[in-house]
Symmetry: C2
Subunit: 223 residues, 2 copies
């Protein structure tokens, strides 16, 4: 029930704005008596607070473990982006409130939310730095790339319509964009391999050319 009320409240806040939404309004849309809502929330601000805590908790639970998972940094980055997009895509209303209504949170909670955000950014930055130091990523400005990735993913709440887009498709496109943007690996490794082969062949060719020259000098009649 609390879950249901949070979801309905988030949808109302997201579409009409927090200040413009009343508890009556939420109760009506949730199909419950206003009186019974008070079992779960003392007032509208507590509802807002719970929405923020829910989002913060979801972010922390789904993303924190990736930071220290025994995976290479490019795989960590891939999964972080996938998780972030999945989390936002499945909770568009909650994230719309999360990204728009922070001004109405009590100060203590604002600080708490800021901390969750900082931690998430620091985790993502850590993954990028790890990748750069291992040579998996090119030497990016990790802090700015974090902002780019978060912006790209967070913006999802502004345009994503589950009926119109397939989240898997969005995720695949974004992951590909970010990976190609960050990875030092793929292109370079193949280029290095080709360059090595080329060098090897050029040496062989040099040897062969010398050989041919010697042979030709040895049999001038064949000219």
């Amino acid at each position: 029930m609390e879950e249901h009320l949070l979801e309905v409240a988030a949808r109302r806040f997201a579409s009409a704005g927090y200040r413009q939404t009343t508890l009556d309004d939420i109760a009506r849309h949730a199909g419950v008596a206003k009186a019974s809502m008070y079992r779960y929330f003392e007032n509208k601000q507590e509802l807002l607070a719970k929405i923020f805590l829910r989002v913060a908790d979801t972010l922390a639970r789904s993303l924190r473990p990736l930071r220290t998972a025994p995976l290479p940094p490019d795989e960590k980055l891939r999964r972080t982006v996938q998780e972030l997009l999945r989390t936002i895509g499945e909770n568009v209303a909650l994230f719309t409130v999360f990204y728009s209504e922070e001004a109405d949170l009590p100060a203590r909670l604002q600080a708490e939310v800021a901390e969750v955000r900082q931690r998430f950014m620091a985790d993502l930055e850590g993954i990028l730095r790890e990748g750069v130091s291992q040579g998996v990523f090119r030497p990016v400005n990790a802090r700015l790339v974090v902002y780019a990735i978060i912006g790209m993913c967070a913006w999802l709440h502004k345009w994503y319509l589950p009926g119109r887009e397939r989240l898997e498709e969005v995720t695949a496109a974004f992951v590909e964009l970010i990976e190609r943007g960050c990875l030092a690996v793929r292109g370079t490794r193949e280029k290095d391999r080709l360059a090595d082969q080329l060098r090897h062949l050029q040496e062989l060719l040099g040897t062969l050319a010398t050989q041919v020259e010697h042979l030709e000098q040895g049999s001038p009649a064949r000219r």
Copy 2:
């Protein structure tokens, strides 16, 4: 003066929210008498409308010409991203209002703003498609990449602090990320060039090997 009032209003709306800001408040922060504000705006909603029209106009003026400029698509994309980031970075308050307070616009203006956004997205998508068809970009899902680019750039208004970040640095990092993410060119072209050289050398080598074989058969004494 109108310019100054728009800027002050945008800053107040951005920090306190449109609904929570009064004309008195704006007049005080702008250092003008409220009465003299009425020469420029009939009411608060007209102020909001002018902010939106200003942003829409800025976007249109700075970005539309790029669509049809006589430039290759990768250069168009680069300049579009640069222009978008510069425009947002130099007008953070205006864009904060633009991205947060649309619900309070009169319906007619909402439609107008939606059209400017659609046009901008269509232009950007056109550039991407052009690049894909020319083989400059890899075959991306242009519509999704447009959302990714806009999200990445639009998010700037949430975190960019002119004193802390240098806009040129942000732009360079984002352009690099997007270019590497989209371009088929750099990596591939160099790879193609290397692969061509390799093929050419292998042919030469084959010819030389045949030649050597013939020469050796022709001068068995030298074995």
